[in-house]
Symmetry: C2
Subunit: 424 residues, 2 copies
């Protein structure tokens, strides 16, 4: 089974939008073992779209198009597909009625008080189908997708809006592709999220399970590292969801056992969300004291709505004297060990806990770079955590440049409190 | 003149990397009026690369390839181009010597104390050229680029590493493309950076200049909005740099006059960098007090190296009672006007200025969303700035969701102090 992707849109060619759809489709197809050899971007031009489809189907079994399904004059994917298939575009009455109802349902009311249903006629171009093709339902927007048989192959046209595209691909295209390939028709992913462990260590821990599973071809296991965290993605194909879960279960169990406490959550969990959840479960609050990260830890903890229930606030003690005046770090500690030290991290954590009246105080001090500080090398980071049971510290050496060291240090801090609160 | 782009790499197809190179090239080509109709991604496969080049040159005058020029077995762009051109790959002695010297220069020392020059032989594949082609110098890496004449067209191969690619495109490819098109051979860009003004207002202010310049075709004016800031990009083609500057000068002058104080800098300037520069020039320091932005303002002010010279630190008073205890905001002010008010913003700015011992105190309080607060709608933001001359406040209503409101509020705060410090 071989598939090609054709993305349609001048805005992609001219770099106004990055082609994230093609990357997402490439990942999804690779996850289920479907080969993608070529991916194309063409502008809003009927001839170009038709040529790209014909070329793709000369090599592949199926082609997936994204974009160009909207109502305006420069949305030309329908016309391009009709030309490639050598058929006419025909207005589908049922689809047109659906669209008219949909636009009516938006509830705009005219001067008479009666619903005003005069949506511009242009909108109903979205009910035009190449003869012999089939509309794919769009759960999140107005433009239906298309499934167009062309010679012995098939073309699928999806909207360019990412959340409409991903939904339609998963609901309509992937099952159809797998049926054509003679494969089971449902794909389920399980993502395990890890922190405080390098990608190479994740891969090493899972090597036996990867070796066991890879020859079977189902499920597949992939590693995705970004921002100092590594995700493990287990993907299973099956006839239905329950069977897919049965295929995933033993692999997930083995992976969780191999990774232990490095797994902080699954699927869409965020590290800061898990921390907030652990605090909430204990009726506890958090305050943070930062130096090298300059506010990024507090910024991350307030990313989500509702964080004020567990997050009290923070102090960015960037200048060294503020570590004394704002956080009560003893001048003697700073003098003896320096601002970048485990001792200072411990005092910062205690200080911010006391002064901000939180259950836990979490602190970070270190050398972001590009230059060393107090003779300590770039990447040196000391973390402190003060709580009802006392103060603990942790010291790490990060390998990155300034922006990466700052981002990784935030993850280290969140992971320190996550692991502490997870311990019964 | 028509150009196509072919990006090479399995990691692009499978979505491990987003194809930012193609977007960048599309933008650069559009800026100088060169048409790009199709852009392709192919995997690491000689036949696919060759076929993509042949197809592209069947339609266009030139094709630009990115990626696949490295030293490993899966770097196959050289082989693909040789096949497309119908020629052999030949080792270039001069390039090989350059590479051997370069690897020697890395200064790894062997056990005997003598420099160890045994770089893996594989590295010298980078000295292989399709017969009749020309190497393009790589100022930032080891892999040279290629210029390969094929029939009446030409293929350029650039490295996949973005900063190597952009440098080589600008230095070697673009001048060559413009020469082939019979156009002047140098392109100079001037970017004007604005803050505190919406994109539509920028476009409106420059409408007369855009109308005047567009029919001439040179220079071009483009607007790029992101993260609450709008850039104005003026691009001129000319025979040399001096002539390009002469073409840009009157348009830049007109744009600066139309935009006035909204322009904070040009080219690679950052808003926070400009703020640090203004503070440095006055021998002044800054401290910040945040609520809805939760540390993001402080985080942005410490993005760059050397920020400790002018940035003292910050307080994230997320819980309302911390506005009293950490910043000295009067409880009566909070009671009468609420935490989200101009009065509280003013008191936060004064408080953080005093307690952190800074020349200026900058504050932010507001409603990030998704829910309203104190009966004040999402997007309400109050800013305060305390300095030697007293306290000023500013109130805005931002139109975004939670992440956008937080990001835009940071820009508003930086812009408030930027404008104040810029006033003589």
């Amino acid at each position: 089974m071989q598939v090609e992707v054709v993305a349609v849109g001048d805005e992609l060619l001219y770099g106004d939008i990055i082609n994230g759809n093609a990357a997402w489709l490439g990942r999804e197809l690779a996850d289920v073992g479907i080969r993608l050899d070529t991916s194309v971007v063409v502008g809003d031009d009927i001839g170009r779209i038709a040529a790209a489809v014909t070329t793709a189907l000369g090599r592949a079994d199926a082609v997936i198009l994204t974009g160009g399904l909207g109502p305006t004059q420069d949305d030309l994917t329908r016309e391009g597909l009709a030309r490639a298939a050598g058929v006419e575009l025909v207005r589908d009455d049922f689809l047109e009625q659906l669209l008219r109802r949909r636009f009516g349902e938006l509830g705009r009311t005219g001067a008479t008080g009666a619903p005003e249903r005069r949506a511009p006629e242009m909108n109903f171009r979205q009910a035009d189908l190449p003869l012999g093709s089939e509309a794919l339902p769009n759960a999140r927007g107005t433009a239906p997708g298309l499934r167009v048989p062309i010679a012995t192959g098939v073309a699928y046209a999806l909207p360019g809006v990412p959340h409409e595209m991903t939904e339609m691909f998963t609901a309509s295209v992937l099952p159809d592709l797998l049926r054509r390939a003679g494969e089971p028709a449902v794909v389920v992913h399980r993502v395990l999220r890890t922190a405080g462990i390098w990608e190479s260590a994740v891969a090493e821990a899972l090597a036996p399970e990867v070796s066991r599973v890879t020859p079977l071809g189902n499920p597949t296991i992939a590693f995705l590292a970004s921002g100092g965290q590594t995700r493990v993605k287990i993907s299973a194909r099956a006839r239905d969801r329950a069977e897919a879960e049965t295929i995933i279960a033993p692999v997930e169990r083995a992976a969780r056992e191999a990774l232990g406490s490095a797994v902080y959550g699954s699927n869409d969990d965020s590290l800061e969300g898990v921390v907030h959840g652990l605090l909430r479960a204990r009726g506890a609050t958090l305050a943070v004291a930062e130096s090298l990260t300059g506010g990024l830890l507090a910024g991350r903890l307030t990313d989500g709505a509702g964080s004020s229930a567990t997050f009290r606030g923070g102090v960015v003690a960037y200048a060294t004297d503020l570590k004394e005046s704002l956080l009560g770090v003893d001048g003697a500690v700073l003098g003896a060990h320096g601002a970048v030290s485990a001792q200072t991290a411990a005092a910062m954590a205690s200080g911010v806990r006391d002064r901000l009246g939180a259950t836990y105080g979490l602190s970070l001090t270190g050398v972001a770079g590009p230059d060393e500080q107090e003779g300590k090398p770039v990447g040196t980071v000391h973390l402190g955590l003060a709580g009802p049971a006392g103060v603990t510290t942790r010291s790490v050496r990060l390998p990155g440049d300034r922006p990466r060291n700052r981002a990784y240090a935030v993850v280290q801090a969140l992971d320190l409190i996550r692991r502490t609160l997870s311990t019964p």
